[in-house]
Amino acid sequence: MVEIPYNKIIEFLRGIVPFNELPQEVLSGLPQKISIDYFPRESLILEQDGSPCDYLYIIQTGAVEKTVRKDDVDILLEYKAENDFFGSASLINRTGPAFNVRAYEDTVCYLLPKETFDELMQNHAGFHEHFAIRLSKLAYRLKKARTGIFAPRGVSDTVVFRSDDYLFNVTAGDLVKQKPITCLPYQEASFVAKLMAREGVGSVVVVDARNCPLGIVTKSDMTNRILATGKTGSEPIRTIMSAPVFSVAPEELCFNVLFKMARFNCHHICVVEGKSLSGIISQHDLIMLQGSNPLAVINDIEKQTTVQGVALLVNAMDRMVKRLLSSGASSKEIAAVVSECNDHLTRKIIALTEEALREEGIGPPPVSYCWLALGSEGRKEQTLRTDQDNAIIYSDPEPGSDQDIHKYFLRLAQGVVSSLKICGFPLCKGGIMASNPQWCRPETVWRHYFSSWINEASPEDLRNCTIFFDFRPLTGDAVLAQKLRTFLNHNIEKNRAFLRHLSTNALYNGPPLGFLRALVVEKTGDYKNELNLKMSGLVPVVDAIRVLSLSEQINATSTLNRLEAITRKKLLSKDMAEDIKEAFNFIMLLKINHHIMQKEKEIEPSDYINPKALSKLQRKSLIEAFHVIRDLQGELRVRFPESI
């Protein structure tokens, strides 16, 4: 028989990690082993705790969802789409699947039989390692799902992101926290034991005179190799150290570190520059890296005494966001953590600046004041460091003293704003910052601003409303902010016509939906074939929800909290509110993901995205989300007929 032209299938396999690691002749032999199966949408492919898989399922077209059933609720683990696969854990462990796999779309899978899979695992190290790591990641997700960190399905925020893991983003150098504790090979065991106790470490690296690592001693080596064998403390350390040690360069990825640990079955890896030791990474460090610990970052912020010190922590914050994203956190959780960190950071900067003014002899704040966070910061919807939006409100001063008081707060604001800039928060291009004399004012002036915006409602006034009405007290006298909020609510109540203007303004941006579910993209310019996630997705939701919430004197500023309050007041149906929440969360996640990716490529973050670059599943979800937004705008239009 003529050789069967399996080229397309081989090509397809070669495009999949880790099949790309296999030599050509092995790849060419695979198609003969493969069978192809088809699963209509919603059919169950693998059953949780069913019989062990006989195949590795490679998705050729379509998508599947993995869910874990716990207490009669399906918890969404993840989606797998084209070029991905499932069933490996069950294949490797010979246990029943730990989750249900269901076709999310009509799905065609290539089925690679167990025997072939086992053969590849045995004979190809790269292939084997990929699955070993995948397995540990999956175990982690499963554990999280079972302990309930993931929201139950249906209520859950749809995460459709392939978790791009810390393993591929953090380098070995990033992980090294402090100078390693070292000793020389001829030093006595008792000396090294004392060193460990004094430094509070569990391991010491044995180095030669040129600081080149020779071996490593851990506490358990001390017990197992000295005490348990009847040796004495005068034993030279080189006779009990574990050697050789394995090293990586600082620029190597954590993936390689983990890889080496797995391959050589060791607990520590040395980081060396040239041959000289610069740090040590333990398995524990890697495990810690996997979890995200905002508390640690906040604690670090609190400990700082200089602006420069605070600025150094900013990268740790970014890393944390990335980790949160890959661990499947919802945008609300991410935004909450980011806001919390940014709040702490800003408060710290304000405290440091106040202190500096005192030290300069200018003295403490002359009257009580409140630092206001505005815009996305006010709504607690900051995801990465976005432009500053802030203002100062202070108590009405005694007549005649305003000039000096204004001067003090302006000076404070200038100090804070420039320090925030050092920490990576760009200046607001529109000048909406407390350092702008216009936005550093006493209560009376603020009340005057607000009432004139509401009464006059010029386009510029309305623009200001969308930023200032989302204010939130950050530090100082929160009563000032509360009083302003009450004033605002009364004013709107007295002047309901304003809401129609604000509503018209909110309908200005709309979802880019064309005829028949198509996405409308830019036709020309720098962003040709792209669409603006923020302007066409997020802003319409934020604006619409703001109008509805102001119409009911709701004090919350975050869009999702406002949404909840609106729903309680029955302005929107529960189902619709749920859809809006999902849509908002999805677009937000897409935006965060997009920004992080751009940052990695060192491109200036933009909100433009090419829908063609999204996975099929993401694109589908995006279209769904835009439809929800269109419905929300429809509601708004009905409630507040357009003003002329």
Partner: protein, 246 residues
């Protein structure tokens, strides 16, 4: 009884055509096909062979001949890539088998390709008594049976299903626009495949097209099932191709 008469008839036709009475194994299998057909078998369990041919042109009458023959097998709705069939055919070699039996050599001995009759025998051995499926099957069957008759004196006995007929039936049932009107053979398949999101395999190799057709039929099984078409008999009624000539 009728089947027995028919079988006997095939033997006679073969003997008359080739001047021999020792039928090769693969041909003898053809005598069992009618007996093996069980209309009550569930489509979802039944084995199928999905095939495609490439020809030198569209007109058998003007001398166009088979160029290649590709096929895959499906059982239980699963396509088995390892059990595939692919042969290239020397189009010049379509001469009567009787002469080959007499001379013992094919006329085109220089060609590395086996003679059409050998390929047909291989194909018959491959399909056994299974129902065979192709897109616009009557076209492929015309060329195949022409070759069959010139080599062995009779046509392929297996039941033939046309996926284009299945598609047309589904279109009527589900009122979906599957087939672009007034389009030719290829685009029709492409249009249907595109509708079902089937990513193109190597188009225009008999194997690639057979695989695409198999992927299509895989989806059809599910849709047919939803519309109450569950047995082989029902399938043959809506999409069977009648075989002309003995």
């Amino acid at each position: 009884m009728l089947n027995f008469l028919k079988t006997n008839n095939l033997r006679k036709v073969y003997a008359r055509h080739t001047g021999r009475d020792d039928m090769p194994e693969a041909l003898r299998k053809q005598l069992e096909v009618k007996e093996a057909y069980q209309p009550e078998t569930l489509i979802s369990n039944n084995p199928f062979v999905i095939f495609d041919t490439e020809t030198t042109g569209l007109h058998l009458e003007e001398g166009d001949r088979l160029l290649s023959l590709g096929a895959v097998k499906m059982t239980g709705g699963r396509i088995h890539l390892g059990d595939a069939f692919y042969e290239l055919i020397d189009p010049k070699g379509s001469i009567s088998t009787s002469s080959i039996f007499i001379h013992g050599i094919t006329p085109d001995i220089a060609s590395a390709r086996p003679h059409i009759s050998d390929i047909l025998l291989k194909f018959l051995a491959y399909i056994e008594c299974d129902v065979i499926i192709a897109h616009h099957a009557s076209f492929d069957m015309k060329f195949l049976n022409h070759a069959m008759r010139s080599c062995f004196g009779f046509s392929i006995q297996n039941r033939v299903i046309d996926t284009a007929l299945v598609a047309a039936w589904i279109q009527r049932m589900e009122e979906v626009e599957l087939i672009a009107p007034e389009s030719c053979h290829d685009t029709r398949f492409d249009a249907i495949a595109a509708h079902f999101g089937i990513t193109a395999n190597d188009r225009h190799t008999a194997f690639g097209d057979a695989l695409s057709a198999a992927l299509l039929f895989q989806r059809f099984i599910n849709i047919l099932n939803k519309n109450g078409v569950k047995t082989l008999g029902q399938l043959v009624r809506i999409a069977g191709v009648s075989i002309q000539g003995g």
